[in-house]
Amino acid sequence: MNKRTCTALAALLAAPLALGAAGCSGGERQSDDGKDGGRKNPAAANAGAVLGGTPQKGGTLTVLSNQDFTHLDPARNWVMSDMDFGTRLLYRTLVTYRAAPGAQGGEIVPDLATDLGTPSDGARTWTFHLKQGVKYEDGTPVTAQDVKYNVERSFSPDLPGGADYAARYLAGAEGYRGPAEGKHLDSVKTPDEHTIVFELNKPFAEFPNATVMPTFAPVPQSRDKGPQYDNRPFSSGPYKVDSYDRNKKLVLVRNDHWDPRTDEVRKAYPDKLVVVMGLKANQIDDRLIASQGADASAVSWGALRPESAAKVLPDAQVRQRLLAESQNCTDMVQMHTGRAPFDDVRVRRAVQYALDREAVMTASGGPAFNDPSTAYMPAALFGGKQPDTLKIPATGDAGKAKELLKEAGKPDGFSTKMTVSSGDKGRAEAIQQSLGKAGIKVTIETIDPSAFYATIGDTKNRTDMVYTGWCPDYPSGSTFLPFVFDGRFVKEKGNSGNHSLFRDDATMKRMDGIAAMTDPKQATRAWQQLDGEILAKAPAVPVLVRRWPLVLGTNIAGAYGQTSFGGQLDYATAGLKDPSRSQG
């Protein structure tokens, strides 16, 4: 989950700033080019810009992918890129993100709704009015009842995987199992076809931010086919599914009943979108770098592989077509604070000192595609730049780590295990290597991404260390620190966020205090300060913030990384320079 903004970040990246000078890569990077003592980030040149100018209407935009979507059913779609694809092309939500590069992409604008919602009862009740004239692909109008129906669907055990905002905030939602057996949620009311009212279980001033989730997209009851709906979502957006051959190909064509006058976000330039799936990731990179023939009108679904960086970065021609927006999620090593040896703060601090962030960055594609992290919350929540309160060198300090271990009564170090998603294996090996220098022997358990959260969410059987990340859902500390460090959110199974199982009374008390603050500026400062306080207690080690590098075909226009979708291409505006060059 992440959607957020970063005001100053874009400016920071656009500036030709030497990374070494940004206090990121420690003091000992030998400059081997010797010209300016460091190197500017060659990947960040296009940050905040729209590549390729304004697209022409028409043509076929091809998306090359090494995988299938996890879920396109709006009740189940909770993967950053999939949400981008679903909500930008196939279905509309009450509220959505502005289609703009850089920080502006984090702003929310009305979509199905006429405004950003009206709170009442101290933000315990939220009312949205739907626009007139919004239609499905068969020409029937979108109703408030359909939005309510999809919210209800998201509770079905037959339809797992979706965001849990509705479950977390709607009143009387406990034990609700979806509409399949004819039961409905009383806390969502639809007084007429164009009005929907949500009754929450506690005041929630940021509720509109949650209604960008596909959970709040309409699904007409007559079209609902349970789990099969995933294979053929019914469109309320500018495109509809023409054919969907799972794991092979998805073809979208225009939904003629979509009315651009009701939609200020989606531009819908191409006539057709074709997603080709199951390709090899490195072959996708090669094809887009070469950008020959039909591949000129193609984009990659997944991020550029780190291995391909050597083919992209030295080549100015290719670099012009490179997007590398920050994902704004912090990768962390989280330690099980409830168990020995990590119940000792000195041991945890030893890990903070031992970890060589620079090595992990290299394993992650290098400083061009990553920024090192010195705080938990990503730079966007610090107004553009993370503070460095601990002043640990980016390459780590094994000596200091050993000292701390000796103090903790472990002069010979210890052995432990770390669970990582299989895609993070290289990063994990870099961590393993650097901790090994301080005498901490780490065994790596790699888990496939799909099973990763289930594995680390099982707090009893998981390893003492996990490598995972957290993304703020929108630019507020309230979507980061409480999720990651509030001990009251810890669950025995299906635990998420607080993988340190950090239960610190002072921290929790402070979080409640900040949540009650009415002045947003004061709250922001308080979150920032709390971040540093938690860092000193070392439940986790912040490692890095990744970017989402994408190489575009030469015929692609209107392209930028949407900051709210983890830097994925914004499908609301992407199109072709010259539609006649694309192949149907």
């Binding site: 081997d32 780190p306 050597a310 394993a363 400083p367 393993q432 290597q433 790596i444």
Partner: protein, 311 residues
Amino acid sequence: MTTTAPSPSALPTGNGPWRLARRELRRRPSVTVSLAVVALFLLMAAGAPLLSALAGWSPEEFDKNAVDPYLGGRPIGPLGGVSADHWLGVEPVTGRDLFARVVHGAQVSLLIALTATAIVVVTGTAAGIAAGYFGGRTDAVLSRLMDLTMSFPSLIFMIAMMSVAKDVNRVLLMTAVIGLFGWPGVARVVRGQALSLKHREYVDAARVGGSGPWRILTRDILPGVSGPVIAYTTLIVPGMIATEAALSYLGVGVRPPTPSWGQMIAESVAFYDTDPMYFVVPSTCLFLTVLAFTLLGDALRDVLDPRSSRT
């Protein structure tokens, strides 16, 4: 490592035919060369810690100065970073020494392959002799079991088992899993041999002479089947090495950062064009070892297995 060379002094019986075999093998240049290659890799595997110490790098040690972080960690210098410091260059991204990794990879790959082979040969021989010599119900049950095992889609099943098993010793598990599906092949060969030996005069003589079945099996039948078994063994070693590599290639093999050839190749595939050296080094090792074992097995079969060396 008992499976490689049928060194005559190590074998207990009948020096005559073995000496003959040895002379026959010496005449073939392919045998000499492949023996040398096999010996080289075995030595490399056995002396891995020593060799990598000599080169100055442990297989898991990063060398940040050897790679360029801005180019996705591409090795600095020609041929994937070959230098006096790194004899075969370095791994991209991490800068780990390729020589040290390939040498340690040999250890893991060969250890798994040879142990699995040993399991297969011991189980297969035991089952084959039992089925062939005792016949009747024992034969029926064992033969059914062989048929069943051979009907298993072994690679698919191996991948599946490796991928679901979590908290276990990967090397051990991999050895066991690979060994599990190989034995019926050996068992069939041995069963056939045992069937034909069972009624030879010298076996009958031993039986009449009051030898127990155990004694007959170990003293009379086993030596009789050893020739074909040795040849067959050498021929399945390459298959075992390739299987280990395939499993590691698919990411269900040994855990990082432990190197094995298959795993190294899997990781280097992504760099095959940007850093060909990284891809070529482990691939060549795998190729040479498999090739050498195959050639050796061919020769041994010709010489030791009278049935197929009829030509």
